[in-house]
């Protein structure tokens, strides 16, 4: 089908609704089945494609292709379980699949109607299988708006997206309401920028709409650079049309006709799916001239980033699109007045834009009903680190951190003790375990010394050294500092030197005060968000884990047993049977001992590489 008008859009939608009903569990269980194989980057990495092909082949072989459809989604939210597959309409969730499992799924589940129990998700606490996806606490405790289509559509098929209301919000924005009303609804919704700074989106649009200028731009920031955050990638891989639609609505709001998606080169699958989505949208006339016959023109291009963290900063991103070194510039003028090519520009993050169509469709009030007083709607977090269930989680604003870690995340592996929740990426901070009642709200998180950021959430347990973590983030910011302004370029360097010195056991007691002083200076005087937030990890760890810094400095001891210069490996004589395994694997021949006699480690030779610990079956090697 070529260009479509609004009636045809609605026709495609109603035609597709029967298909979607199967996936929403509204169809009879003995009819058509849809097997939704996860196909995001994490799934592909876990070899989901051979599973997909094998199941297609087996269905074909058994003559089931008429009633069983295999569809690849962009779902990799629950990434530790990949490759995964959801069988609809039952909603049964199979995990850790290999091509060898395909026979059982087809013969037992599809033909005999019996679940393949060994492939079901098992509760990490009691090991009981939970067959239905929506009964798994990881999913049942989430509220899906941004990620609503994760397991429901084929991201490379625009008709699937349309059946799930894609472009309905755009149609309303282009034909039923004015630009002022769009901005008003976005303001009423209370949504704030999901990229990190949390600036109210409606206000941003209002500034750009009022700015003088015949040419304006809408940009999408898909330069997701925070280590630990991958929600934007997932949205682009699973539901790219939501982002395109958000951009069309933003364009109408500020009267722009050209857009760019700035996507990092490290996301090839996201770029591929975006390109497909753009091409399909153009064919339907949902991008280009006279969209849906509304008379409004808007088109967009993908711009591939070239690997610079600082380009996630708005002015740097625009300068990078202009083909220059992506270094931030002072504001004002703000991009709403002078942005890309010095024209009024709106820049929004992927997650923000993906929420916009639903806000326009359901009204700002609907969105504002979710969340806290000042933080509305939902937020997607990328839960990772020392937690049983890692992956993307979308929760209403206002959920306590402990519910995310324990109810959704399933707690800490191996019964270890949670030490801190690192939130906000390298600009963020560590929230200690005694503040786990903190709720996900921009202001509440800022109070703890962390920031909401783009939503990276890394769980740390007793085996993580907080000084080492601070050093890691400091190193990241120092390396990514573009070098334009002195406080960030020099300040982060000096801070990194001091933190490194402390982890190497050469710290002096004045170092903590020096770090704090430097940190305040870098925060206050850096040009852009990178420098202004770079000291956060150091400041928040000093604030909440000062005792660990002091242990490193005064006692020359690393309580978590991480900092190599401050620890020794020692073999427990009572546990070591003298099997000789550690002796064989030690790369520096630091371990000696006769067979069947407890071995010893020479601390002078030992490089603390950890190979012996990994090889010991008797748990006989300790770190002190």
């Amino acid at each position: 089908m070529g260009r479509i008008n609004r009636d045809q859009l609605n026709e495609i939608k109603s035609r597709g609704e029967n298909i979607i009903d199967i996936r929403l569990g509204k169809a009879p269980v003995d009819g058509e089945k849809h097997l939704m194989v996860g196909g995001g980057t994490a799934c592909h990495a876990s070899r989901s494609e051979p599973v997909r092909d094998a199941i297609r082949g087996e269905i074909e072989k058994k003559g089931l292709s008429k009633i069983c459809k295999v569809i690849e989604t962009g779902n990799d939210a629950f990434s530790t379980l990949a490759p995964v597959m959801v069988v609809y309409p039952e909603g049964v969730y199979y995990v850790h699949l290999t091509p060898d499992d395909v026979d059982d799924i087809v013969s037992q589940h599809l033909i005999d109607g019996k679940l393949v129990e060994r492939l079901l998700y098992k509760d990490p606490v009691n090991n009981k299988p939970i067959p239905r996806m929506m009964d798994i606490p990881y999913f049942s405790n989430q509220t899906l708006i941004t990620l609503r289509n994760l397991t429901l559509i084929d991201p490379e098929n625009i008709d699937d997206a349309i059946a799930r209301d894609a472009y309905q919000g755009a149609a309303k924005a282009l034909m039923d309401i004015t630009a002022e009303e769009i901005i008003n609804q976005v303001k009423v919704s209370g949504i704030r920028g999901r990229g990190g700074a949390g600036f109210p989106t409606g206000m941003k649009w209002g500034f750009a709409a009022r700015a003088e200028g015949d040419i304006k731009y809408v940009l999408c920031n898909a330069d997701e650079g925070d280590p630990g955050a991958f929600m934007d990638r997932s949205v682009l891989e699973a539901d790219p049309h939501a982002v395109l639609e958000g951009m069309i609505i933003a364009a109408k709001a500020i009267n722009a006709h050209q857009g760019y998606i700035y996507c990092r080169a490290e996301y090839p699958l996201a770029i591929k799916r975006l390109k497909i989505a753009i091409e399909q949208a153009r064919r339907y006339g949902l991008l280009g001239k006279d969209i849906l016959g509304s008379g409004f023109d808007f088109d967009l291009e993908i711009y591939q980033g070239a690997g610079a963290f600082v380009c996630g900063e708005e002015t740097a991103l625009m300068i990078s699109i202009e083909g220059k070194r992506g270094m931030p510039r002072p504001r004002p003028p703000f991009p709403a007045h002078e942005g890309l090519w010095k024209k009024p520009t709106v820049l929004n993050n992927v997650e923000t834009l993906a929420n916009i169509p639903q806000i326009i469709l359901n009204g700002g009030q609907w969105y504002a009903a979710i969340g806290t007083e000042k933080s509305k709607g939902t937020k997607v977090f990328a839960l990772a680190g020392k937690v049983n269930n890692s992956g993307l989680v979308e929760v209403p604003m206002g959920m306590p951190l402990k519910d995310i870690v324990y109810k959704i995340g399933g707690g800490i592996p191996e019964d270890k003790r949670l030490k801190a929740v690192q939130i906000g990426g390298p600009s963020g901070g560590c929230i200690p375990s005694d503040l786990l009642d903190t709720v996900t709200d921009y202001e509440a998180i800022t109070c703890t010394g962390a920031i909401m950021g783009s939503g990276g959430m890394v769980i740390m347990d007793e085996d993580n050294c907080m000084v080492d973590i601070a050093r890691f983030f400091m190193e990241f910011c120092q390396e990514e500092s573009c070098g334009k302004c002195t406080p960030c370029r020099e300040g982060t360097k000096r801070m990194l030197e001091i933190v490194t010195k402390i982890t190497e056991g050469r710290g002096e007691i004045d170092d903590i005060a020096t770090l704090e002083e430097l940190a305040e200076m870098v925060k206050d005087s850096s040009l852009c968000g990178l420098g202004q937030t770079a000291p956060n990890p150091v400041l928040s760890t000093i604030r909440h884990f000062r005792d660990e810094y002091e242990a490193h400095i005064k006692d020359k001891r690393c309580p978590a047993g991480v900092c190599k210069a401050l620890i020794i490996y020692i073999i427990d004589e009572e546990k070591c049977p003298g099997c000789g395994k550690c002796k064989r694997v030690c790369p520096v021949e630091a371990i000696t001992g006769e067979k069947k006699v407890p071995h010893t480690i020479d601390p002078e030779k030992c490089i603390r590489c950890g190979v012996c610990i990994a090889s010991c079956k008797f748990d006989a090697i300790g770190v002190v």
Binding site: T41, A42, H44, A45, S46, F78, S79, T80, A82, E224, G225, D226, P227, G228, A229, F230, R233, A265, E266, Y267, P268, Y303, Q304, G305, A306, G307, A308, F309, S320, I321, E322, G323, K324, R325, G326, M327, W341, A382, A384, G385, K386, S390, G391, Q422, G425, G456, V458, M460, N464, I469, F472, F473, F476, C482, P587, C609, G610, V611, A614
Partner: protein
């Protein structure tokens, strides 16, 4: 040093021609030229400078600013060890060191036989699979000192 062949020069000229009229063309041109040549030596930068009418110093500035661009040829296989937060806390760094020791190559360097280039990267978004390694286009989950060498054996 890997030579720029006649065919590559022709492709480079084609890329320049295609983007010539667009504003902000430099970075896409560099990206495409690097995918043709594998790297961006001075002579290629000079060609782009003349073709796009942009000073060589500006081009050099852009090439050295972005980590995606390289002025030295890369190996046949690119190993990327993820040192994002999740991979770091789960042991990404010792994995990196074991590759450095095995092949005698620094991070950012290439082995003498041009078999491997080794890089550490920021988060690749596979945190649930930490620690992760990417070799060319293949991502490997939960790598360890024990399985790294076996994986790399498959890349000659």
């Amino acid at each position: 040093m890997k030579k720029i062949t006649l065919k590559m020069w022709k492709e480079i000229d084609g890329i320049i021609q295609r983007h010539k009229e667009k504003s902000g063309a430099l970075i896409p041109v560099l990206e495409e030229c690097q995918s043709v040549c594998g790297y961006l030596p001075m002579e290629v930068q000079e060609r782009i400078s003349k073709g796009l009418n942009i000073p060589g110093s500006t081009i050099y500035g852009v090439v050295t600013f972005y980590s995606f661009f390289t002025m030295t040829p890369k190996g046949r296989h690119i190993i990327k060890i993820c040192l994002g937060t999740a991979c770091y806390v789960r042991g990404g760094k010792p994995n990196l060191e074991s590759i450095q020791d095995e092949f005698g190559v620094e991070t950012g360097g290439t082995t003498g036989d041009l078999r491997f280039s080794l890089d550490s990267v920021r988060c690749i978004g596979a945190c649930g699979m930490a620690p992760a390694m990417v070799v060319d286009d293949d991502t490997y989950a939960q790598i360890s000192k024990q399985n790294i060498m076996k994986i790399l054996d498959g890349y000659k």
